[in-house]
Symmetry: D2
Subunit: 342 residues, 4 copies
């Protein structure tokens, strides 16, 4: 019998991607779709790339509308998930694509979001040590941020093996869909095409404490992260360049061995053959993460580059992957591992 | 038992898209892959977006290498298919993505291609009247060109209903993958980004006689086509704007009725609701064609705009759709109807 | 002594381009800059590509603020120019980049704009027969729309020589800056990158009557124009493909002769050598228009393609060119004829 | 009397940009243009954005063809400049846009280029301490690489003031023109649009020793540079994110003061107001560099972002700026400080 799924926030980019994946998921039946200002509209007018659902009409986002489903995906602005979630029954699997339940440290939450901390849910990054166990059977999942997914999957093998110093520099480029459908001047096509620009520089981006949390947990010691996100002229994709000084005695061979070992069994994270580097194009619309690592002897640094699709593995695909685990469906079900390229 | 499929020309854009679709096709097992200059290389180095097939090694394109499969897709340069096809057994389904067997008129072939005509195979545009019957059980299929697919599906309802004059103007924009992986200066990223440019202007593009053939067949009289293709700064997608003078007494309502009737049962061709226009973004990676029609009273013209993905419905998706029909597999099997957007 | 110039609407794309050109104009001193919601802001925050003017602060758009200049450029939303213009003295050269004073037929204005007609000013397309004379010494100029500039310059030689039928089909692709800085969902970078889409289909685009007016005047008889604009994934540029049936006896040679003759003396409109086609990349930031013409014998049509930069020759460059003529400054002063490419 | 200038390598992207700037330079007359495989072709067929020079025909690149000019710009592949330069008279100003004469350390040259070191010429980065003096009257100039220009101008104020540790991490995004017009598969538009990808990772990019040389000279001690370049989906522009740990006692205020002081008098390098960040769009076609600095207290790092146009300030503009200084022409002559945006 099909799993019945509702999606709150179906008019946005994350909501649209969740629906794209769910329509191809063999165990799922798409139920209620909700929106905020778009309530009452046909989905076809909002998400013209989803013809099979074109005639669905969005309802307002209320607990009542979302009731009666096995799974509810929340793709809402940050801070909106808690109020809805607490009104959904404990037996419903709630998968939150917002930030609300990602951080364990209330102080970090309050410093970066400025509101009271709503709590902490099992973290939907199955590749982290212990995560699959925590997700199995859970009825609440906090889907990671797109940057933390990229950076954590790029760096955890090095930290798990104790090969690098806990002082990380990350510069990442993101496609514009990472900023959502917000009507802001700097997101206009005229502004972004042909342009690279940074934002949230100097440690102020809200994904920073999430990276710190993940990497510190793997490292077993506090890790600092200098994180600079940049906006790239493409709709989708994140390319994260991550570097840290290597510990004494570490060289390229040891780095590669650690990555091979850590990633060998992962269905969605691929260490590329030596000499081949990731590109966002290769993971367009795919739940795959491509990773490569190099050793810069002169600078004494490991350089790791990871690429993923911010809407797929970075949001909706990671969410569906976690749903699969939580419900006991085989983890890879319904998730594309091939990209749409060129 | 799985249908065993070989792909000749697996290193190119059409070949890569065929493989992307085949890896998601539940009835198919991917067999031999061949290439020309890329023989001996890992597919992962050539098509990094296809991790499930990354370790496959390409063989040289010979009849021997392609032997022993139920289906052989040919994604070769024009003029290369006939020699290979005649050495493959009559029981093998050969699906040719090249132009060699599309045209019925040898003189038209010779005028536009300059070589002897190889013959004519059943035409892989299932939506045309009579096409599904001709494809069922066939062991040879000529996949249409990407522009003719767009233009024919955009205009056949108007001609089938006798609503427009047989003098058509088409201006179409194509993504750069339509030109293949050829190393030509004008296809460099530096040249194409930020640029629109026409090519093959004045009736010299090789897809022109194919459009004339299709539309004349539907119209039951000779149709002239003024076709101007343009290269657009995007990897994929065709947007074709097609216009013809309407016949006396025809108005917007009659046009819409004809399109509704002609397309109602088609799984891959959608007439959009009034007021909504197609975009290539909405069909990125999808086998869907989006169509809209308007009546310009002042100019006395029907204007029809069709959008599709040149690599999916325009090439590989159309090829798989025809394979399904030829083999008696349900026509929509393995074919995405949702696009990857934004 | 420098010509003192004010710009109303300095925060928009047209206003920014006017300022880019004026800062390089040897006869001009940039005076007051005004805006609407941006009044009080530094220009550097709004137009970061103009460092020489970064510290200028925008005033509100009032006749008082604009008073005291030799020239006032109006880059305002349609319908706002008349009220300002009538309060500026007759001795001030007012160059209106809006539509308000372009059309001669009040009925056409009212049908397409829905407001009372404000009047008709000398038309700032110097290349049209008689236009330079009308502009010389004038103190009011109506700058043409970007599409009408492209289409008129592409087709007037054919009509002036009587070579084509008065039934024109135009399909044009425009960069997104043509839609201005408006915060609309379909103009977001996430939506436009990788996408071609039409809009204003079926004769409803407001630039249609302006093309009809221009071409009918040159042809000496009513010309119908089927005009389909499309939005292309690039910030700037228009590529217009224009076609009309040729009159009996007309062939490619006669077409080319007519274009050579009509354009030989034009400083900003270049007929390309045979076999070379225009691209928008080649006119990026330039006041040049590139034109090419072909004869499609099978379809009996002339096909003319014109390319320009919608913000330069299509708006601000055309405006400055007209200003030069009106003031008796050499026409080409301060106007770039080279593009920024690649 | 005009300075007579020849350009060797006029068919490439650097050569084209040099010509774009020279045609607008009031003191210059463009003389001989040469190419390699393009010798004998019209410039109009190779650089269609330069109509004023369209009818020039390229000669083969020989010392004889380049003889008789006051200035010769060399825009040749690396390793080709020395042989030509030594045959040009000592009185001719030779401005080399290649790498041949940039490095002072022969061992570094040989390690990264694999050929014997040709020598060291005065370095064409006027903003570096002492550089203007060295350039004045010189008849040989080595134009810096595009990445070293960006990174050096972004970081020298911090090193000159002794504010940061000599262990730098740089991640930079470049438009595709930085890779030249080479016909390589990964530079095809189909591949680069929508894609970010790294290359030369791990300290192997040839621009690394040049950055080390520049920053070490300013710092007065050896500086290590971890440099990761990435290819961005845009034709032009470099955005470099540069970070280093701050020295004890350094905070945001001291950083900003150092940058304000170091850059106040520079005509082409602008420190943006606090809170505003550079974008490559704002310097498209301009000789301006935009810089901003932030202090990340949690990570203990200064983060500096610089943006420039790799073909203008990063190559051709820097070359013309150095030519101006060498010849005693005012430094800013003929160089645009406004970008073409949006």
């Amino acid at each position: 019998m099909a799993v019945r799924v509702a999606v709150a926030g179906a008019s946005g980019y994350a909501g649209g991607e969740i629906l794209r994946l769910l329509t191809a998921h063999p165990e799922v039946e798409v139920g209620t779709l909700t929106g905020n200002s778009s309530a009452g509209q046909r989905l076809g007018a909002l998400q013209p790339h989803l013809p099979p659902l074109a005639d669905r009409v969005l309802e307002a986002t209320t607990a009542e509308a979302l009731d009666g489903h096995d799974v509810v995906f929340l793709a809402l602005p940050h801070g909106r998930s808690a109020a809805i979630a607490e009104r959904l029954g404990d037996g419903v699997l709630v998968v939150d694509c917002g930030a609300d339940f990602r951080l364990r440290d209330p102080a970090a939450w309050e410093r970066f979001y400025g509101t009271p901390h709503a709590g902490t849910w099992p973290y939907g990054l199955p590749e982290l040590p212990g995560a699959r166990e925590a997700l199995t059977g859970s009825r609440r999942v906090a889907v990671p941020g797109c940057y933390p997914t990229t950076v954590t999957l790029s760096l955890f093998p090095a930290f798990a093996a104790g090969l690098v110093e806990p002082d990380v520099v990350v510069v990442a480029a993101s496609g514009t869909s990472g900023a959502g459908k917000a009507l802001k001047p700097h997101l206009l096509g005229s502004e972004v095409m042909g342009s690279m620009s940074p934002y949230g520089v100097g440690g102020v981006h809200r994904h920073t404490p999430e990276m710190v949390q993940n990497l510190s947990a793997v490292a077993g010691e506090p890790v600092t992260v200098s994180f600079t996100p940049t906006l790239a002229p493409m709709p989708r994709g994140i390319l994260a360049t991550c570097t840290a000084r290597v510990r004494p005695g570490v060289d390229g061979e040891r780095l590669r061995e650690a990555y091979e070992k850590a990633l060998a069994a992962e269905p969605f994270v691929h260490l590329l053959p030596e000499g081949q580097w990731p590109s966002t194009a290769a993971v367009y619309g795919s739940n795959t993460v491509l990773v490569q690592v190099a050793y810069d002897e002169a600078a004494g640094r490991a350089v790791v580059v990871g690429a993923l699709d911010n809407l797929t593995k970075g949001t909706a695909g990671g969410a569906v992957q976690s749903m699969n685990i939580a419900l006991g469906i085989p983890e890879t079900t319904g998730l594309p591992t091939t990209g749409v390229a060129p």
